[in-house]
């Protein structure tokens, strides 16, 4: 049974008051759930939020599925999101992602056996002047080379 921490519940209650409509609290609350649920949001958690917030589950589920930053299935400890839009693709990120996947023996979106990584190709993250780049959890890593990127991943335990 998913349940938010006391702190999380307080956060959601505050968000419900913060905006002009309660529905505006859906996105912040989903972020909170994701934070407390190892980086992803389960179907069960949507039902929990629906009861907690008093908003129909279908409405929350619509919002949940619309935005790509909410993960629909478990992710690794480090969610490696490699930008593969124009500038980064030109800088070789698609090939770089392929080497990651090969090296760690996973497909895109899967969790590595040790639970450390999930690799996802994402659209432009707005750091094109520093291509190639990727985002690991919340942090941007820019001006990568295949070597520096590999090294970076190795250092993440």
């Amino acid at each position: 049974m998913f349940e938010l921490s006391t702190q999380g519940q307080e956060f959601v209650k505050k968000e419900l008051q913060r905006y002009e409509t309660v529905e505006s609290a859906i996105i912040p609350s989903l972020y909170q759930v994701q934070k407390e649920n190892d980086g992803w949001v389960s179907e069960e958690a949507i039902g929990y939020l629906s009861d907690f917030m008093g908003i129909p589950a279908a409405r929350i589920n619509e919002v949940f599925h619309f935005y790509t930053m909410f993960n629909k299935k478990p992710v690794g400890k480090y969610h490696v999101q490699v930008c593969c839009n124009v500038a980064c693709a030109m800088a070789g990120t698609r090939e770089m992602t392929k080497t990651f996947l090969d090296e760690y023996g996973v497909k895109e979106g899967e969790v590595t056996e040790d639970g450390r990584f999930t690799f996802t190709k994402v659209e432009c993250l707005g750091a094109c002047d520093k291509a190639p780049m990727m985002q690991i959890n919340e942090d941007y890593h820019e001006n990568l080379t295949p070597e520096s990127a590999r090294q970076l991943l190795k250092e993440l335990k």
Partner: protein, 425 residues
């Protein structure tokens, strides 16, 4: 030559704090503005010729003028959902000069008599959101936000709202839907947001750069602002340059600045001395222009429109002669397929169709007639939907495919890229 209004203090790391901002004259324009009449500010903004910097280029003062005088609460929304591929000007401003945006917003809110504003920040921009949130708190503590700002009697509250990963929320009504806690799907127009926007209340949505520019227009006056740029494209503009140039980055130049100069001077020319092949001048939604066209292109709304493309958000992707246009097309069409909100049929189905057609060229399953079909599908997606995403998906096709048709034909006939060669197939 760069003309730095907005980006003058980007190099100063302290500028993002209230203290550092005030050292450089921060919040000195606000008291002046609060002593003006709101209609004077609107008139000044109108006179400045400022046009929306988010992509559509609609005159800001005119937009403000659409607000009805019906006594309803008005909202000001700052569009910081910078999602147009290869655009990173707003992120940089939020990270480096948040108070400049906040000051511009308070002035704008005062001008349109709005008690509440939101900065809708792209979900991925976690760091920028933190910086802006901190700056808002500083502004509240210093009395620039809240009740009776600087004794003027004007009350204004400001908050941020974080998106969660959807390009479409950069479309103003998509953003409003998202802020209302729904899927970020654009709304039917009419009614336009100025009449019925956020929560069906009169709402003005302006881009980060637009709102920050308001501060400088009030500081220096419309005439001074208009000295930069061309007659119809006034002022300076931030351009995000990426791709095959030696020094990619944000550059602030007056509108009307020659594109080739920006590439060769500010950006230090093409990487490794290779030849310029093409550039996308206004984010991936803008049709591509060839090297030949780049020579004649100036960075203003009119010149680029005449060339059949657009200034858009001001992001420029420069491509050298090693770039395969079929490959570029695939990356771009993947993006729109991924980002279509799914509401209007031509876009929902068309973006996927375009992506599949382009992919089939690379997979070797396409025939030459599919090139025409690709253009035809793109043509039929144009102007048929609630918002401009469908057009944004179609326009790159209608730019790249006709201009580099032989690369597509070659790929289909030979099974490998004309540019990359058989070895890289």
């Amino acid at each position: 030559m760069e003309v730095k209004l907005l980006s003058e203090h980007y190099g100063d790391d302290n500028f993002k704090t209230l203290e550092g901002y005030k050292v450089k004259g921060g919040y000195e324009v606000l008291p002046k503005a609060l002593k003006m009449k709101p209609e004077e500010i609107i008139a000044e903004v109108k006179a400045s010729g400022l046009r929306g910097r988010g992509g559509a280029g609609f005159p800001t003062g005119v937009k403000w003028g659409f607000l009805p005088n019906n006594g309803e609460t008005r909202y000001l929304l700052c569009n910081a959902d910078e999602g147009e591929p290869c655009t990173f000007k707003d992120r940089m401003m939020m990270e480096k000069a948040p108070h400049q945006l906040i000051e511009g917003m308070i002035i704008s809110a005062f001008a349109i008599n709005s008690p509440k504003s939101y900065i809708y920040i792209r979900g991925e921009y976690t760091y920028a959101a933190k910086v802006v949130e901190k700056a808002i708190k500083e502004a509240y503590d210093a009395g620039y936000l809240g009740k009776n700002i600087l004794g003027s009697g004007f009350d204004h509250d400001m908050d941020i709202y974080r998106g969660a990963g959807a390009y479409i929320c950069g479309e103003e009504t998509g953003m409003i839907s998202s802020l209302e806690g729904k899927k970020g799907q654009p709304k039917l127009k009419p009614p336009f947001p100025a009449v019925q926007g956020y929560l069906k209340k009169p709402t003005i949505v302006n881009n980060v750069e637009t709102l920050a520019a308001v501060k400088y227009i009030i500081r220096d006056g419309a005439d001074s602002y208009k000295k930069h740029g061309t007659e119809k494209s006034a002022g300076t503009k931030l351009f995000s340059v990426a791709g095959d140039v030696n020094k990619p980055g944000n550059y602030e130049v007056p509108l009307g600045y020659p594109l080739l100069d920006l590439i060769n001077n500010e950006c230090g020319g093409i990487k490794e001395g290779r030849a310029l092949k093409a550039a996308i001048p206004g984010g991936t939604s803008a049709p591509i222009i060839t090297a030949e066209e780049i020579e004649k292109a100036t960075l203003d709304y009119e010149c680029l429109a005449e060339m059949g493309t657009m200034l858009g958000s001001g992001s420029i992707v420069v491509m050298d002669d090693t770039r395969c246009m079929v490959d570029m097309m695939k990356v771009i069409s993947h993006f729109y397929h991924h980002e279509s909100c799914g509401q209007c049929t031509p876009c929902r189905e068309g973006t996927g169709w375009l992506h599949k057609l382009v992919s089939s060229v690379i997979d070797g399953t396409a025939s030459v007639s599919d090139i025409d079909l690709l253009c035809e599908v793109a043509n039929k997606m144009k102007g048929r939907t609630i918002c401009a995403l469908s057009d944004a998906a179609a326009l790159p096709v209608l730019g790249i495919v006709p201009k580099f048709r032989e690369e597509f034909e070659f790929f289909i006939k030979e099974g490998y890229s004309k540019v990359k060669g058989r070895a890289n197939a």
